[in-house]
Symmetry: C2
Subunit: 235 residues, 2 copies
């Protein structure tokens, strides 16, 4: 019934930190000291410390010891999900219109994002994602065809680019930027924006083991879309 011992130790340490007994950058008792204090083996004490390090509460340094991490460095996180899953999870209808599917020469922005030299041929797709018939995202995607040669042969009405790319080139890394923008009139019409309505834009670059795979510009109507996230920092 009792909580596992390493959780007791974790709680004890986080309490000390939260009540201020263990200040920022203060040295935490060593693994051996904790083992003695809690009458457990070093490996159990070690596990408590290890998990707190993973949570960003502590910092360890071989040979020196374990220390309280700086409080402000505990950055919180926001999850970025793909629009198709998001819509489906809301239990609403998701549909896609394929607006473009071509090869084109990379301009400087795309070339830099994909780590190619400007002018290299890349795959370009433009998709409009609809939720219950209403436009929710305009997806402009540029793909490195050297890494994903079959990209343009896909039918994206059946399988979204994100799903296809996850299969053929599993991601190892991603980078996102989020900004608020005003779009040109053609795009505004596509997204059925109201007058003066801004858009939330996500720039997403993804890498697989072999290199930079794709660069996407995801544009959402500001009035209909919110990016939402959640994170538990402690436990």
């Amino acid at each position: 019934m009792a909580a596992p011992k390493f959780i007791e130790i974790k709680q004890h340490l986080t309490e000390l930190i939260e009540q201020g007994s263990l200040a920022e950058h203060a040295k935490v008792p060593s693994e051996n000291a904790l083992a003695a204090q809690f009458e457990c083996s070093r490996m159990t004490a070690r596990r408590a410390l290890t998990e707190l390090v993973e949570q960003g509460v502590l910092v360890r340094s071989q040979g020196q010891g374990t220390f309280v991490a700086s409080l402000k460095s505990q950055g919180s996180m926001l999850t970025i999900r793909n629009i198709a899953d998001e819509v489906k999870e809301r239990g609403r209808g998701h549909r896609v219109q394929v607006l473009a599917k071509t090869r084109l020469a990379a301009d400087t922005e795309v070339a830099i994002a994909l780590g190619l030299s400007p002018g290299t041929e890349v795959g370009h797709t433009a998709l409009l994602h609809l939720e219950e018939g209403l436009p929710m995202q305009l997806e402009h995607r540029y793909v490195n065809l050297a890494l994903v040669p079959g990209y343009l042969e896909q039918d994206f009405a059946l399988q979204t680019p994100h799903e296809y790319l996850s299969q053929v080139a599993p991601l190892t890394e991603a980078h996102h930027e989020v900004e608020a923008v005003v779009v040109d009139t053609a795009t505004a019409e596509l997204l059925q924006l109201g007058p003066g309505e801004p858009c939330l834009r996500i720039l997403r670059r993804t890498w697989s083991r072999s290199g930079a795979v794709s660069f996407a510009r995801l544009t959402h109507p500001g009035s209909r879309y919110r990016l939402g996230g959640h994170l538990v920092m402690d436990n």
Copy 2:
């Protein structure tokens, strides 16, 4: 010189997954099987699995076994940082103007966010964060005074609300939403926006052990600010 053994096992498994030998939801060899295969103890094999579970690559279930997690569930993350640190890290001057510091009755939005009944008195502060003299964020913050009674006595020109709150009520949880909005003319003037320029708005709610502490509405000029993040999914 050689990599530790548990990293070898991790790499072996991620390779199997990436090349498709281990499909989604497929059963991964048990800890004992891996220990036999790699001629190591069960604890070492277990560590490899544990770390892959923490990365979201695998899923474990006591009694059943370990399985490959669904690929799409690997949502990527975006870090949300506080503006003061961000500006200082760029090596630029950060300054704050305190525009308001009062008690007021919570309207419905604030009351819901803080888990209070509408009309409860809460602390309200409005700060304008400047980077090299240019407005970068308008921070409207509502604080549960029952949990942080000293809030309104602080001088926020010296210590930002975020820093103060981190000290007196260490966060255990945070929730964010991000949206693109058009603001009223008074706010537009404060942020020195161009005509029709949209804003990136972050809604941030934070909890400490004792309950919902604060609700903040952070408004950034769309032309001068981008939310940027990064995540390594693998290793």
